[in-house]
């Protein structure tokens, strides 16, 4: 699965990660490596185990078995050190709705110990084109605005590792496009490693260097989006997705793309 000649620094690594809920395996011996500066997409149908994987990687959920390392350190014993260098954003969490946007961001900037926090916040808000929302009440933002505020929070500490769980869910195509471009831009500028889940294949094709398809907690195939499409008899990633979601495998072709 991993190429021995690959010399890039490994930022995040899971070995045989398994997570059971009431005897059902939400993740089944899931192994992967995420390298510095790489964007890895996790794909799969609803319930495939993507969020569970992310929660394990964030230390929110303990795996039933398996090993997790980030920045070369075991995750559980070094959670705080690792989280200082990482960040997370999801369409399904929110910042406290009763505070103003700048107040929320300032609090998190202090938590992460961001030097010169006001300047940093202003820069990031400008980058995500939400400077005008500075004094808005967080709870009154539209879904798209709130997603972008969450992203500002996620970029505050210049993370080396970023986990984005469906960051473009509920965004209109225009904003989704902008968010993808910003994520890509920041990612390239700072060489961030990103773990990315989405149900939007456009997202995946544009943002991810490599993808892993999960089905019932198991890896079905992995490779670059174009390799995977090429190796299946499908025309595009969306067809591959549907095939895997229905059959649990890519029937007509080799199950794994070899390139990593």
């Amino acid at each position: 699965m991993s190429d021995p000649t690959d010399t890039r620094e490994v930022i995040l690594e899971a070995r045989e990660l398994t997570r059971e809920f009431d005897g059902v395996k939400a993740l089944d011996r899931f192994s992967f490596k995420l390298h510095r500066g790489e964007v890895l997409g996790l794909l799969g149908a609803n319930g495939a185990g993507k969020t569970t994987a992310m929660n394990c990687l964030l230390g929110l959920t303990l795996p039933t078995s398996g090993e997790l390392n980030a920045f070369g350190m075991p995750l559980q014993a070094n959670r705080i050190k690792i989280l200082q260098r990482a960040n997370f954003s999801s369409a399904y969490t929110a910042l406290p709705g009763n505070l103003l946007v700048w107040q929320n961001l300032l609090v998190f900037a202090h938590i992460y110990g961001v030097p010169n926090p006001k300047k940093k916040i202003a820069e990031l808000m400008e980058l995500l084109e939400i400077s005008h929302l500075n004094k808005s009440v967080t709870g009154q933002l539209s879904a798209g605005e709130s997603t972008r505020v969450n992203l500002v929070k996620a970029f505050l500490n210049d993370p080396e590792l970023l986990m984005l769980d469906e960051p473009t869910a509920s965004l209109d195509p225009d904003i989704a496009d902008k968010v993808r471009k910003v994520v890509r831009k920041v990612q390239r500028e700072r060489n961030v490693a990103i773990l990315y889940t989405s149900h939007n294949m456009r997202d995946i094709e544009e943002v991810c260097d490599r993808v892993i398809f999960l089905h019932k907690g198991k890896i079905v195939c992995e490779g670059t989006p174009s390799d995977i499409v090429a190796q299946s008899s499908s025309d595009n990633l969306e067809d591959v997705f549907i095939k895997i979601a229905r059959d649990g495998e890519l029937l007509d072709e080799p199950k794994k793309a070899s390139a990593v």
């Binding site: 959920t61 303990l62 969490t93 929110a94 406290p96 009763n98 107040q103 202090h110 938590i111």
Partner: protein, 265 residues
């Protein structure tokens, strides 16, 4: 423990209170209602009994004020945590480099700030409205406040652990916890007036020593020093137990994967 993180968490509550002054009103409203009711009852008793008991009966007010200190401390801790649950912010906190000890410390500080406000308001009204001067307890007030605050923190941590484990279904239970203790910690009556079987139970909890001590001080100007020692010792024990419970529940929720379901619900 990182002080920068604790102060960032506290800053959040200050923003919160500055943004919604209604929360401050709530800090004063119930204590004032309680105080007026108990104050009037006291005046009524004073007018209808002999003068000696009449002056002693002011301990109703003292008991009420000190009880409120403990109750507010518990609430401060639990509310701080609930704010994160209500606002779906818990996940953001848990994925930030925040240690449990830092998080809890911040809730303690918020609890303390809430107490200060309540205490000032109550002392003021009881002095002007009912000629009860809390400062007649003089410097005894300091250990009284501290001990009750510490026990309030322990109860707050227990409430938080309950909510962490059972979700918002446990919320009302969390509010009720201090009142489970009210009958047995001798807030408004002496331990010797309680049924014999319940007295040993009463002495298991730090507030009992404080409320007994308060009545002694009001009567004679001094109290049994041992009481302060027992109260402090028991408080250390309860804080340790409550802290252990909180961390244990936190780890349990991680193991069961409940943290995320709960944090995003």
């Amino acid at each position: 423990m990182n002080f920068r993180i604790i102060s960032a968490l506290v800053m959040r509550y200050l923003f919160l209170y500055a943004r919604s002054p209604m929360r401050l009103v709530e800090l004063a409203f119930w204590p004032v209602v309680d105080l007026v009711v108990w104050g009037n009852v006291t005046v009524f008793i004073q007018k209808n009994t002999n003068p000696e008991f009449g002056s002693y009966v002011l301990f109703f007010l003292g008991g009420m004020i000190l009880w409120d200190i403990m109750f507010r401390a518990q609430q401060g801790v639990a509310i701080s945590f609930l704010e994160d649950v209500w606002t779906r912010n818990l996940l953001n906190i848990f994925v930030a480099p925040v240690r449990s000890s830092e998080y809890i410390s911040a809730t303690f500080i918020v609890g303390m700030l809430r107490i200060l406000i309540t205490a000032v308001v109550l002392s003021f009204i009881s002095w002007f409205g009912y000629a009860f001067n809390v400062f007649q307890l003089s410097w005894w007030l300091i250990p009284f406040f501290l001990n009750l605050m510490l026990f309030g923190w322990s109860l707050g941590m227990i409430s938080t652990a309950l909510i962490l484990r059972w979700g918002l279904a446990a919320e009302s239970l969390a509010w009720a916890i201090p009142f489970f203790f009210q009958p047995v910690v001798a807030v408004f009556y002496r331990v010797e007036d309680m049924p014999a079987w319940s007295r040993p139970i009463a002495w298991c909890f730090p507030p009992t020593y404080i409320f007994e001590g308060m009545r002694d001080v009001m009567k004679s100007g001094t109290m049994n020093w041992d009481y302060l020692g027992y109260a402090a010792g028991l408080n250390v024990l309860y804080l340790a137990l409550a802290g252990w419970l909180f961390v244990w529940v936190l780890n349990l929720t991680r193991k069961r994967g409940l943290l995320t379901k709960f944090a995003t619900q």
